[in-house]
Symmetry: C2
Subunit: 273 residues, 2 copies
């Protein structure tokens, strides 16, 4: 595995690679969720690139970028063992300069849900993803379904700006007890971790209701709120796959999304029905 930190060097190297390229952009602190993205990329492409870059522009001013878990050595090991061909490890100063052109998230879909409590967060996400996609120029790029709104906005960007890459959504990986894997789980104390199980539990409740023929969004979300209590809820929403609110679950075209605060940590999860 090669480790490269210069965007222009990576660009040059990849010009010599006449193969299908799968790309997984990450913020590091890699876990089984990331490994499943890498596996999928290995299956579908001849060459795999992973980036680890803790992107400052997607953190708001009052959010603690420095606290985000960093595990560079473990990340390298995981990539190596997973058969990654190139690990891209840029620093912030090669990725960003002064007074830059940036991406602007859609005025509606970029400012609901996660974007409502974190305005401008998705501008930062889209900007760094655009930069990374232009540097790597992959055949396919892999994103977890757990960050469903991020996945939705990146897919929109690629379509609306006529970019040349296939965005591949990958299923969420969960612990045995149902908690979705997230680098942020590292922040949880054992008792917070226990409380966090209310999240997958609320999604299972929703899923069970739908199985029994209950499709009314309000009925489902109010039951989910009961399951989540007393956690602080940012949102519980039932949307179609294009992220429009729907009054009734449409099987095959629905995402049910939850975000809550556990201790001081925001945790999100969702199911696709």
């Amino acid at each position: 595995m090669k480790i490269i930190s210069s965007p222009l060097e990576l660009k040059e190297q990849l010009k010599e690679v006449h193969k299908t390229v799968g790309f997984i952009p990450t913020m590091g602190a890699l876990h089984e969720g990331h490994i499943s993205l890498i596996k999928k990329a290995k299956e579908q492409n001849e060459f795999v690139v992973v980036s680890v870059f803790l992107n400052p522009t997607q953190f708001l001013k009052d959010e603690d970028l420095d606290k985000y878990p960093k595990k560079d050595e473990a990340d390298k090991k995981i990539c190596e063992l997973s058969g990654v061909d190139i690990l891209f490890l840029p620093s912030a100063d090669v990725m960003y300069g002064e007074d830059e052109v940036a991406l602007l998230a859609p005025k509606v879909r970029g400012y609901v849900l996660e974007g409502f409590s974190r305005p401008s967060h998705f501008n930062g996400v889209l900007t760094v993803v655009m930069k990374l996609l232009n540097i790597v120029n992959p055949t396919r790029a892999y994103f977890g379904k757990k960050d469903a709104q991020q996945l939705n906005l990146i897919s929109l960007m690629v379509k609306q700006l006529f970019m040349d890459v296939e965005i591949v959504p990958v299923d969420t990986v969960r612990e045995k007890d149902g908690l979705a894997l997230s680098s942020r789980n590292a922040y949880l104390t054992p008792s917070h971790r226990e409380e966090a199980l209310k999240i997958p539990s609320s999604l299972r409740t929703a899923s069970a209701m739908v199985s029994k023929g209950v499709l009314d969004s309000k009925e489902i979300t109010s039951k989910m709120r009961e399951v989540l209590a007393p956690l602080e809820i940012f949102y519980v929403e039932i949307l179609d796959r294009e992220f429009n609110q729907i009054s009734h679950v449409e099987i095959g075209n629905t995402v049910i999304l939850v975000e809550v605060k556990v201790g001081t940590t925001r945790l999100l999860d969702n199911i696709w029905l």
Copy 2:
């Protein structure tokens, strides 16, 4: 010459073109200035694509998009006679959808000069140029030096977002009496056209002062303002090639820019020293 109106059809067609591609994005009403861009593209590339698209997002709400001169048939003829291979003529509804991701001009360099009196104008310019560059995926794209700030911001976008295209600046084409060619000259009455000659005259004054060793920016711009009077002046600025203000002309690294209102028409011009 092929005429194509669908972005995806153009993208598909160009995938079969294994040649260097030169691209000239325009808003139509083509004149000798555009023809000089096409000629340069023909010299440097094996295949040439021109787009004619009157981009709505770069006009502000109070600006009259509908009044912009339209000359579709003449444009087709000019492209055909200039040896263009593909003319791309999309409609607004295939270029834009609802609630879209957009580009955001840099907070400083995007909001001075033209961007000061037309805030958000350059967001629209960058968004459409990004879309067009992604559709055509050219080897080189050609822009006139007359719209110097636009050229500067597009070059910044390409560099900062790591895009794969060479931006080629092309010298301004002028009438015999010095007036820079512009689709907007069509708005001028004969007496306004006469007044507009103060613009190239002010630039010649600046150039003559520099030849005589006068390099002080304030001295030069105050003389230029005298030449331009009584026209309404939006700005007269002396900048380096990166668009920073400079107190003294630096030969080989300076742009002197003027924008004025003649009648109801904004006209801009500049010289590169």
